[in-house]
Symmetry: C2
């Protein structure tokens, strides 16, 4: 089927034949429809979306990406947009409003009914990175003094069949959180029992202002799929499901990975980011690194006499500084990741420092030895003539590598901790600092050791 | 409280006062006990664990790390080990056996009862990275022809109150999966209704041999917290909960991040990895990179005449090659991450190549211009004397940067795709290949452009 045929089928709302479920004994999952809509040009997607039955539109909407969601709300009739936005589950509604900014946000807010608008408005007051932005406010609550049979009847009457009802919450008369009960306990226990009898007495919860990273840690620690979210006074305000947090964890990791590679976190996936947005995200860092690295030209300028006397020294510059850079980025990666996973805190700096200095000396000695053997071998096999003082040159390489690798691991491990201490994000800022510092100081270490060892012979 | 006092309390099993819940109106969550045990020396932890009440031991055990779990099973009486291992929920049991290898595994397998041993044995036959290794086999199944009230009674009689009962599965008489029903529907619907009436007709499932990454993608795509797992014939064999997959996603990201930083994935957290294990993980890559980078010394050896004639060329070597390396690692990071998140596949290579060549030319031109201005400024302000031919030198830098940055982004984006095509892990092998290739070829590009532009003047 070519793109034109696909588009035609989409516009006429004939998704089932596209998805190969034409035999009619399976429903098409909203996520499949969304995937299809996301893969065609945006105008086709818009037409396709509008051809869906109304109750399906609301189901498909949350699975679309924010670009398409915005386009849809902006283009369809006001009444229809309002219906969709008010019908969404509360977490999907908040996610949508979090993704639009400024005037667009205010305009779209007017589409909500008063109750929904107030809730969204309150939640948008919390920081972008807080769990408040991910909560579902349609949770189900219950009293402890009734029987399970009564509880079931209450739930049946007052609660919608949504994901948020997978765990039922017990609150006291002031709305303060007492305990949480997985809904399965209402099925698996004798209906005559009191609700109070099936409480387990543990209740892990999150605060509205906790960060998404805090939530990831807590879900992992307690192996939960839903956690209640309260304000500072322990009043239950919403629930958080793990799938939303999983996305947050993935975003954190993506940002961390891109930052390591010297790219600012992208707002959209690579394929959806425009050419100029991509250039902008990359150019900033490349320029910062480039300007930092210019110091290497300055540093080498100080040693131009030495280089002109012993050109052979210049041959090893790339090898020497890349070793410092590599060992530095290894150390930085290990420490930043361990801090992100909360395995390490800045209190452990002394442990880390001792360990990294020792690692650096060991690794430097290993590389230095290989470098020494390389020069000796090339000299003996007449592959390159390093001159009569090749032995001293090889020693210079050996000692420089020990010094530079040690210095690389030390800066690589300590700079992230110092940045963290200064409340800066270690993942974002460590790479350029470590790279520039290690390259520039590495050159100084190398030429200083050379000056010391080769004085009177090569220099 | 000092460490000695803490140890004493732990050994006597007095966790509640340690955790500040001494007032007695809250239970201590097993995860809190586990955290406490993990933070003290291993022998204290062992004693502390044994002082727990028997039913608490089984609850705490899954939250401990594998090192401590192994130590406990090896040290306590056979009868007790057997009781713990047989009582664990099936996914925790499989996780434990997956973490032990060889003889130890066989010895520990003998502790299980026949039924459990058969299940564990079967599952260990699947690859380490398959979802089979994460499933819980204690799922609850039901027939469609009965009423909800009857279903509830059946579930109450035959199923344990475990996480696996959060979703109930409908299977036909051959055990083939038909549909899944969140347990909340048994509470929220009229008990007189038939089970068949509350099916939604979508049933997303995983296969035993799917990889953990496939599972992550599917959970994200369908926003689920539990998915059923079947064999190739669609027979239901177990269920997979999202928290176990979250750990898998985090491990994938950690491995990817460490690989970018040039470190092999660690088997244990940084703080728990021994000094020598850490050196081994780091030395391998440092040596590979170092040996690769030795080619830079060889490449520069070919240009030693040029360098001795124009020492000034050597001053810019670190700047030039680091720019190539940085732009290469940016491109590699973007592409590898986009492939890991399945936003890009190798089919998109032509789109990526055009885009990256254009990005490289643009970025190279930006950096080249800055480099040109730097030389012109230093020359005009008499900060450094680049000689009478400084203008030609500045042009050399400009053109070299355009060439090298373009080459860096091109190799950085294509090498991961080629590795993926060859069924190699792009995250593991791209970094050293890109670094070495771009550094060595970067030098050749630089000196060739210099030879071309400076012939008859500086050279």
């Amino acid at each position: 089927m070519n793109l034109k045929e696909i588009s035609k089928k989409i516009i006429t709302g004939d998704f089932s034949s596209l998805l190969g479920f034409g035999n009619g004994n399976k429903n098409v999952h909203p996520s499949e429809v969304a995937k299809m809509l996301t893969s065609v040009p945006i105008n086709t997607a818009l037409q396709g979306f509008q051809s869906l039955p109304t109750h399906t539109e609301v189901k498909v909407f949350p699975y679309l990406d924010f670009l398409l969601q915005k386009k849809i709300i902006a283009c369809i009739t006001k009444a229809k947009s309002a219906a969709i936005l008010n019908e969404l589950s509360s977490d999907d509604r908040i996610a949508f409003y979090s993704s639009v900014k400024g005037i667009e946000r205010s305009t779209f807010l007017e589409l909500l009914n008063e109750k929904n608008r107030d809730v969204v408005h309150d939640i948008l007051g919390y920081p972008e990175n807080s769990v408040a932005r991910l909560i579902n406010t349609d949770f189900a609550t219950i009293d402890t003094e009734i029987s399970i049979a009564q509880a079931n009847e209450h739930l049946r009457k007052f609660h919608k069949d949504t994901e948020a009802a997978n765990v039922i919450y017990v609150v006291d008369k002031d709305g303060k959180l007492v305990d949480d009960i997985p809904v399965r306990r209402f099925v698996l226990n004798d209906p005559e029992k009191k609700v109070a009898d099936i409480l387990d007495g543990y209740c892990v919860s999150l605060k509205m202002s906790d960060t998404k990273e805090d939530a990831v840690t807590k879900f992992k620690e307690y192996d939960r799929v839903v956690l209640p979210v309260t304000n500072a006074e322990n009043t239950l305000l919403g629930v958080l499901t793990v799938d939303d947090v999983m996305d947050a964890a993935e975003q954190r990791d993506t940002k961390e990975i891109l930052n390591f590679g010297g790219v600012e976190g992208l707002d959209y996936p690579y394929v959806k980011t425009s050419f100029f947005a991509l250039i902008k995200k990359r150019a900033t860092w490349l320029i910062v690194l480039f300007v930092g690295e210019m110091l290497t030209a300055t540093a080498m300028g100080y040693f131009d006499k030495e280089i002109s006397k012993a050109v052979v020294l210049a041959l090893f510059v790339p090898l020497i500084i890349s070793s410092g850079g590599n060992s530095g980025s290894q150390a930085a990666t290990l420490i930043i990741r361990a801090m992100a996973l909360k395995e390490l805190t800045i209190k452990d700096w002394w442990f880390v420092m001792r360990r990294e200095v020792l690692s650096g000396l060991t690794l430097g000695f290993i590389l230095g030895t290989i470098g020494f053997i390389r020069i000796a071998t090339w000299q003996e096999l007449h592959l390159y003539n390093y001159g009569p003082h090749w032995f001293l040159l090889a020693l210079t390489i050996l000692f420089s590598l020990i010094g530079i690798v040690m210095w690389g691991t030390l800066s690589g491990s300590m700079i992230p901790m110092v940045l963290k201490k200064c409340k800066l994000d270690p993942a974002t800022s460590s790479a350029p600092l470590v790279a520039t510092l290690v390259d520039v100081t590495g050159l100084i270490i190398y030429f200083s050791i050379a000056a010391l060892l080769l004085k009177g012979t090569l220099l």
